[in-house]
Each structure stands twice: as C-alpha cells, then as structure tokens.
C-alpha cells in the first residue's frame, strides 16, 4: 500500500532523523527505490553529514586529532555529532561542547588531560574566527575623572579567552602540533594548574601563560568588576602593569561606568 504523502514539515523532520539518528522509519516509504534501496540512497546524505562535521571538528581540534589518532577521533566525533548536531550553518562555531563531551566519553577516561587540551583548542578556534573589533583608545580612560575611572567596567575583545587548567595543556598542545615527541614525553601531565590567555594578534593566535594573581585580576576585569575594586582585590602584586599590558595589546574594546559606588575598605 502507498504511504500517505507527508507534509513538508513531517518529511524534513524525518530526514533529520535519518541523518542524525539513522532512523529511516519516517523517510524510506516516501523515497523512490528504482534500482537502489531508500537506505542506500539516504546513506549518501548520511555520509556527507558525518564527514563534513567530522572534518569541521578535526579542523577545530587538530592537536586532539593527532593526540588520539584518526580512528579514535572519528569514533568520538561520530558519537558527539549524534548527540550534539550543529545549531547553526556557520560551522566555525560548531563543536564548543566537544571538550565537555570528552570529559564524559568513557573510552577517553584514561587520558585525564584530554578535555583540557580540547578546551584550549576551542579557545584557539574562537580566537581565529572571532569578529574583528577596534581596541579601546586609552585616551578615553585618561580623559575620565578619577572617581569615574574607579567605576570603569571593561568589555573584552571577542578573540580573548582566559583558561585555568589542571593540566599543562598548553605544553601538550604545542608539542603535539610541532610533532615534537621529545618535548611531549618530557611533559609531566600532572604539572598543573596553569593559567592561560588566548588571543588573536595580527601575526596569528597566541596562547600565553600568566601568573595566578595576574590571571585572577584579568579574570575579574573580564567579568565586569569595576576597576577600583579589581585593583583593590589585587593589592599583593602590581596589577597596574598587567592593566597597561592589556590596554597596549588591545584586549579591551570598550568600557562602561558602573552605577554603584565602589566601597573601599
């Protein structure tokens, strides 16, 4: 018996199920089989779906791909793609949940540092593709009254990420991409934690280590903590040097003035 013609909505959702969940119950009855079964025909699209997205993940996670090998990477990617298919047609944005997925991916559980390397790679990918933005002109800060300056909350350049990691993911990442086996075997994977800043410079993406105190100060600024309060929290080191470096490097693009007065102790 002929299946009743589906609505376009039913058919498009059914094709989604065929591609994402390999479930052809809603599609096969509607596909002309002439010489090839509906499943064989749907496989052509399933293959493209899986290979395009696996390639997108491999491009965003190149060190991960080398670290675990192509076969393991593909296995992890296939499971991830099924559970987290993309929400946007912009594939540069695809895969930000991959590090969290790896934390719970049983076959990877013996490599405790793997999710940290993945998080670092995502910050690099984000830095590569983040929108362009003009750096903040420091003269605008100079022009403020001192009381106003205390209330400044900075807006971060979209390419900048701050990461705190239990494992030295930066060393692992660099050694893997450089294919430097000697450096890789010299790394103590437990020699953490590390405090990192990832950003896009005109010359490319940089990952740099920071001291814990500089990182905490920067992190407070990134979260919008008013300048005076953040400086006050960081009295144990010269935070103004760190601030000057951020401004010179163009890591802030704007600021607003917090309404609430800052309480000094």
């Amino acid at each position: 018996m002929e299946a009743a013609a589906p609505s376009l909505l039913e058919l498009q959702r059914a094709l989604r199920a065929s591609l994402v969940a390999h479930d052809d119950r809603g599609t096969s009855a509607h596909v002309v089989d002439a010489g090839m079964s509906p499943a064989e025909r749907l496989d052509v699209y399933r293959n493209t779906f899986a290979s395009v997205l696996t390639t997108a993940l491999r491009l965003s996670y190149p060190a991960m791909h080398r670290l675990v090998g192509a076969e393991f990477f593909e296995r992890a990617a296939r499971v991830f793609i099924e559970t987290s298919p993309p929400r946007s047609a912009c594939l540069d944005d695809y895969g930000h949940e991959f590090p969290d997925f790896l934390s719970g991916f049983e076959p990877a559980s013996s490599l405790a540092y793997l999710p940290d390397v993945a998080r670092l790679e995502w910050s690099v990918n984000r830095a590569l593709h983040a929108p362009d933005a003009e750096p903040l002109d420091a003269q605008r800060l100079v022009a403020l009254e001192e009381a106003e300056r205390a209330r400044v909350s900075f807006a971060l350049h979209p390419s900048v990420s701050l990461l705190r990691m239990d494992h030295p993911a930066d060393l692992i990442w660099r050694a893997v991409l450089d294919e430097d086996d000697a450096a890789l075997s010299a790394i103590d994977p437990c020699a953490g934690p590390v405090w990192l800043l990832t950003e896009r410079l005109p010359t490319g993406v940089e990952v740099r280590r920071m001291s814990e105190s500089a990182w905490r100060f920067t992190s407070a600024l990134c979260e919008g903590r008013p300048l005076a309060a953040a400086l006050d929290d960081a009295r144990d080191f010269d935070a103004s040097v760190v601030l000057a470096d951020h401004l010179a490097a163009g890591r802030f693009i704007d600021f607003s003035l917090n309404k609430t007065a800052v309480n000094f102790p």
Partner: protein, 292 residues
C-alpha cells in the same frame, strides 16, 4: 570605478574560478589571470585573516558569494541569525552575484551539513518562493538559485525539477544558477533527459553556470551512482552539455568549482581556459552549430 577603488564590480560573462583558502596567498601575491572568483559565503562569517584576505582580493577581482547554509527549502523558515551574517558579508564585500541552492539544510533547529533534496510539490514550491523572496527583500538584491545534484527522489513529487526551478524564478524574480554538472549527475541518477532540462530553462533567467567534476560510484550488481564531489576535472560529457547550455543561453559567467583535494591554481585556470574557449564560440554563434 567606485569610491573604494574597485575596478570591476559585476561578474563578466567569462570563466571564473572557485577560490578556496589554500589559494589565498597565491592570489594576493601573484595575481593569477582569473576573470573572477567565487567563494563560499559561510567561510567568511567571522573576523580575522580570512575576510581580510577577501577584502584585498575583492579590490582586484570581481567576486561572487555562493552560500550553502540559508536553507531556502526549510518549511520552518530561514534562520534570522544566519541571514544577518550573510547580509553583513554582502554589505562588506559588495559581490557581483549572490547565490544559494534549491534544497534544504535545516530542520528542527539543526543544520544538516548537506544540500538535502526537496519533494517537488506545490507546497515546497510555495515555501521556496516565500524564503527566496525574504532573502531578496532582506539583501535588497536579486539572488541566483542553483539546482542541486540529487541521489533520491520522493514518491509524492509532482513537478519536474526544471519546471520547479523555472517557477521559482518566475514567481520571485530570482535568477537561476545552472549547474551543468549537477544536471548531468541527477539526469544519470534518475533517468532524466539532460537536454530536456536545459531546454526548459528560460535563457534570460540564467545568470551563472557551474562546472565541476563528479565521481562514478560502482555498486554491486553493476549499478552505478554518480556523486557530485567536486574532486576532479570536468567530465567530457559535462563539457558537451555545457556547449549545449551556451548554445541555448548565450555567453554566461561560468565557474570552475573544485572542493575535494583542491589542485594547484594552474589546474583550475586550465579548466577555466577550456570553458573560455567554449564561451568565445558561443559568442560567435558557432556553439549552436556544434551542439546541433
């Protein structure tokens, strides 16, 4: 020449080349003699070096933006965030042509990373026309819609693809991006007559032609499926069909596409030179005689 110093804006009726990342540096440094370039819209939606390179290339070459993510056939409507990203790039690049596909890629909020076939029904025709009109209103310009290669057909389809495409152009005022390789691939896969397909398209609606290589996959029992993988030179049968297309449509901007194992620029320019010879023949009217 406009205020930005751009020498050429519209896409000439010549043979251009699909530009991929591996050739950015070469194009910027050695200015190969390509008549024009086309890029994938979705590859330039962020910031950083890729769109900066494109800005620089745009100063020296006519440029066309070819999208794969708008999902013109989605019954659930266009993704406004994606349409806004396309609009931003169109405003930044001011391309000579903007094109998309007669297919869908988004369902239930998921991007399905392929150009999926639509049922050729009145309902789908209305949806595609609605979405194309929305894109054109939003971008304030005409777009071209490309026929995809397909590997399956739906039982409840009632309209031949060539009629469907013609109707979309007629109802929305959009142009047609006639992918000659896709016509050949789909015609072989479904037993259509490729010449009949070409003959059904209105010459004045055809704004661009695509050419690419495809792969012949041999299945058990001697069965064959042609797959449009853009990974080789244009097949001889597709060149012949292209000559037929030029005879019908006259000289049309023509693009060489290559996406899998992208070869050196010289190979792409050789393919473009071959297309250029056929365009010249079409200009002198001799193509009509060759195709007959």
């Amino acid at each position: 020449m406009d205020s930005l110093g751009r020498a050429r804006d519209s896409i000439p009726a010549k043979a251009g080349v699909g530009l991929r990342f591996r050739h950015h540096q070469e194009v910027l440094e050695s200015h190969p003699a390509a008549a024009w370039f086309e890029v994938h819209t979705e590859n330039y939606m962020g910031g950083g070096s890729a769109p900066a390179h494109l800005d620089a290339i745009r100063r020296d070459y006519p440029l066309s933006l070819h999208g794969t993510g708008l999902s013109l056939g989605s019954v659930e409507g266009l993704d406004p965030a994606h349409l806004a990203r396309v609009q931003n790039l169109v405003e930044r690049i001011e391309p000579g042509l903007v094109s998309e596909h007669l297919s869908f890629s988004v369902a239930a909020g998921n991007y399905l990373a392929d150009l999926l076939p639509l049922p050729m029904t009145e309902e789908a025709l209305e949806i595609v026309c609605r979405n194309v009109a929305q894109v054109q209103d939003h971008l304030k310009r005409r777009i071209l819609v490309e026929n995809p290669s397909t590997y399956l057909q739906f039982r409840h389809s009632t309209i031949p693809e060539w009629e469907f495409l013609t109707q979309v152009a007629k109802r929305t005022g959009c142009g047609i991006l006639c992918d000659v390789n896709n016509i050949y691939v789909s015609a072989c896969n479904h037993g259509w007559d490729a010449s009949e397909y070409l003959a059904a398209l209105q010459p004045k609606a055809v704004g661009e032609i695509h050419l690419a290589g495809h792969v012949v996959r041999r299945l058990d029992g001697g069965r064959v499926l042609r797959i449009d993988d853009h990974g080789s030179r244009v097949a001889p049968e597709v060149w012949a069909l292209y000559a037929e297309a030029l005879a019908r449509f006259g000289p049309v901007p023509t693009l060489i596409e290559w996406d899998t194992d992208v070869p050196p620029m010289a190979v792409l320019l050789e393919e473009a030179a071959h297309a250029a010879v056929l365009i010249e023949k079409a200009e002198s009217g001799s193509c009509r005689a060759l195709a007959a």
